[in-house]
């Protein structure tokens, strides 16, 4: 068994469900109440993958539409990130795109997975820029339709990134 720990960041526009995904994944808790994250909230989840025991140190960073100012410092040293979009608000997808760009400019090329969250209300999804979406999907280590509310695709989302950040483990 090899013990590893990796810093993972949750990135996305405000209110897309970053905090909700982490609470569902780490503590199996979901709340309808929206409490915006101030600064950063750090959680830890340990999983076993093959011969690795991986501790994911999850940095849940506040969502803001203009990330250029504060965000980069939070990304320092991260091994991967989760890009979260809320397709009920098409603008959040644009935000993920600009976030992705900002990351590659400041941190470099690190793996990420894409979460299209709130799949439980898929009927309210509304995509305008499918090209953007497809470009992101291709660049990602995996993309998932998730729901923090109904616990859909959450484990898959995080496990996929876990594989991507561990050395010598190709994404499934």
């Amino acid at each position: 068994m090899i013990g590893m720990q990796k810093k993972i960041c949750m990135l996305g526009a405000f209110s897309v469900g970053k905090t909700s995904l982490v609470s569902q994944y780490v503590n199996s808790i979901f709340s309808e109440k929206y409490t915006t994250t101030i600064g950063v909230k750090i959680d830890k989840k340990q999983i076993t993958m093959d011969e690795h025991v991986l501790s994911m140190i999850l940095w849940d960073v506040y969502g803001e539409d203009n990330h250029q100012t504060v965000m980069p410092s939070y990304l320092r040293g991260m091994a991967g990130f989760i890009l979260v979009a809320d397709p009920t608000r098409p603008s959040t997808l644009d935000t993920t795109l600009s976030l992705r760009k900002m990351v590659s400019e400041t941190v470099g090329d690190v793996p990420f997975v894409l979460a299209l969250n709130k799949v439980d209300i898929k009927d309210q999804w509304n995509f305008e820029a499918l090209e953007t979406l497809n470009a992101l999907k291709t660049a990602s280590a995996g993309s998932f339709e998730t729901s923090a509310k109904t616990d859909t695709g959450v484990d898959d989302l995080f496990n996929c990134l876990a594989c991507a950040v561990l050395p010598g483990l190709p994404a499934p």
Binding site: Q5, K7, G39, K41, I42, G77, M78
Partner: protein, 419 residues
């Protein structure tokens, strides 16, 4: 009351209020002190604490306590333990048991949550500055914050704090963080920070110790820190060192003993042993004293022996006095006594004036035959019977010369020679 009186009363109460308060305070203090003094348990506790500080000071300074005890301990121990061990143990147990227990209790007493005085490091985190990952973590065995949730909460707070502090451009060594009743002291290195979660009030020297530690870690783990990829085993070798640091910066009472240097600890133990042996010696000395007194009483009760003085030199007792040659041999009295002391007798001969001695002396000098009667009655030596002429001529002047004889009644008939 007139309004003038009322005003005056008001002014008075305003002016005198501080004094009145002070008096009540003092009264309370006196009561508390009184209570403290009249409570034996409290006094025992206080004494224990004082004794402990004395030991601590002694250890810091030239160790007068240890040094003065050591020779005594070594020299006297054998001597002391040679004596009847059973009596000693019986005599000692009730005194020593509680005393030693109390002292040990005061040394090791622990208050799990609140160090009575001083401070305790409950957690130590080494956090890499790049990703904020906890590279190495140790928790005190007495820490309440062993609990995983608490640790991760704490860690999370420290990580974001470290992040934010690192972020500010005009970073001015911001390095403490309060989390409830705990405080976090953070020491910054180029690649990692050392964060100590502290309960209580740490002294300034902790800051320096943290500084030295983080510097050493950077020196020892330069490569590991530089290319840190999240491998948790990489810093396993550091854990014992961090535990050591944890333990050596436990300023609470219980651990103060634990944290003394090996030498200080040894002296502390010597001091305890010294305490034990002191009591042993006291009791033992008391037993030996009473045996000696008994022997001296016996010796002085002997007629013909007068003890004038006794001195002690290098453990040998010299007894001076006068001894009638007819008196018992003091050495014989010594061998029948229980005392184990080394004694040398210095007796000057003298003539004792007790009637038995005068009579015996007379008998020795006169060498009376069976037909001569010698007796002493109130200083007068009565010599009667019959003897040879030669004896009579010899004895008559001698009778008066016997020491202690005040008068002589010489009435011996001359025996006719039966030839």
């Amino acid at each position: 009351m007139t309004s003038e009186e009322e005003q005056l009363e008001q002014v008075r109460s305003v002016l005198l209020a501080p004094q009145a308060q002070r008096i009540t305070d003092l009264q309370k203090q006196i009561e508390a002190l009184d209570h403290r003094l009249s409570d034996p348990a409290q006094r025992a506790k206080d004494t224990g604490e004082v004794l402990q500080s004395a030991l601590a000071i002694s250890n810091e300074k030239e160790d007068w306590f240890g040094n003065s005890l050591k020779p005594m301990v070594v020299d006297k121990f054998q001597e002391a333990s040679r004596e009847d061990p059973e009596i000693m143990a019986e005599a000692l147990f009730p005194i020593l048991g509680p005393a030693v227990r109390k002292m040990i209790a005061s040394l090791i007493s622990r208050d799990k949550n609140r160090p009575k005085s001083g401070y305790r490091i409950e957690q130590l985190f080494l956090i890499d500055k790049m990703a904020g990952l906890p590279v190495c973590h140790v928790a005190s065995e007495h820490s309440d914050t062993q609990d995983a949730d608490m640790v991760s909460g704490m860690l999370s707070a420290i990580q974001s704090f470290v992040h934010d502090a690192f972020q500010t451009d005009e970073f001015d060594g911001l390095n403490t963080l309060e989390v409830g009743e705990l405080s976090v002291w953070i020491e910054w290195g180029p690649k990692a920070v050392l964060a100590a979660v502290v309960r209580g009030k740490p002294p300034k020297k902790l800051r320096e110790a943290l500084q030295i530690k983080i510097e050493k870690i950077h020196h020892d783990y330069e490569a590991e820190l530089a290319g840190y990829e999240g491998n948790t085993e990489l810093f396993d070798a550091l854990k014992p060192q961090l535990y050591l640091f944890l333990d050596s910066h436990d300023g609470s009472l219980k651990s103060r003993f634990k944290n003394l240097s090996a030498e200080a600890k040894r002296y502390c133990l010597i001091a305890v042993a010294g305490l034990v042996i002191l009591v042993v010696l006291l009791v033992n000395g008391w037993i030996e004293d009473s045996r000696w007194r008994e022997f001296m009483g016996k010796l002085q009760a002997e007629i013909g022996i007068v003890v004038s003085n006794q001195t002690e030199e290098d453990g040998v007792i010299h007894v001076y006095g006068l001894r009638d040659p007819l008196a018992v041999d003091p050495e014989a009295v010594l061998t029948t006594s229980d005392t184990s002391r080394d004694v040398v007798f210095h007796f000057e001969p003298y003539n004792a004036l007790q009637p038995e001695f005068i009579q015996q002396r007379a008998l020795l000098l006169l060498k009376p035959t069976s037909e001569v009667n010698v007796s002493l009655i109130e200083g007068t030596l009565y010599v009667s019977g019959q003897a040879s002429r030669q004896w009579i001529e010899n004895a008559r002047p001698m009778a008066a010369a016997v020491a202690g004889v005040t008068a002589v009644a010489f009435n011996v008939r001359e025996m006719e020679r039966e030839q």
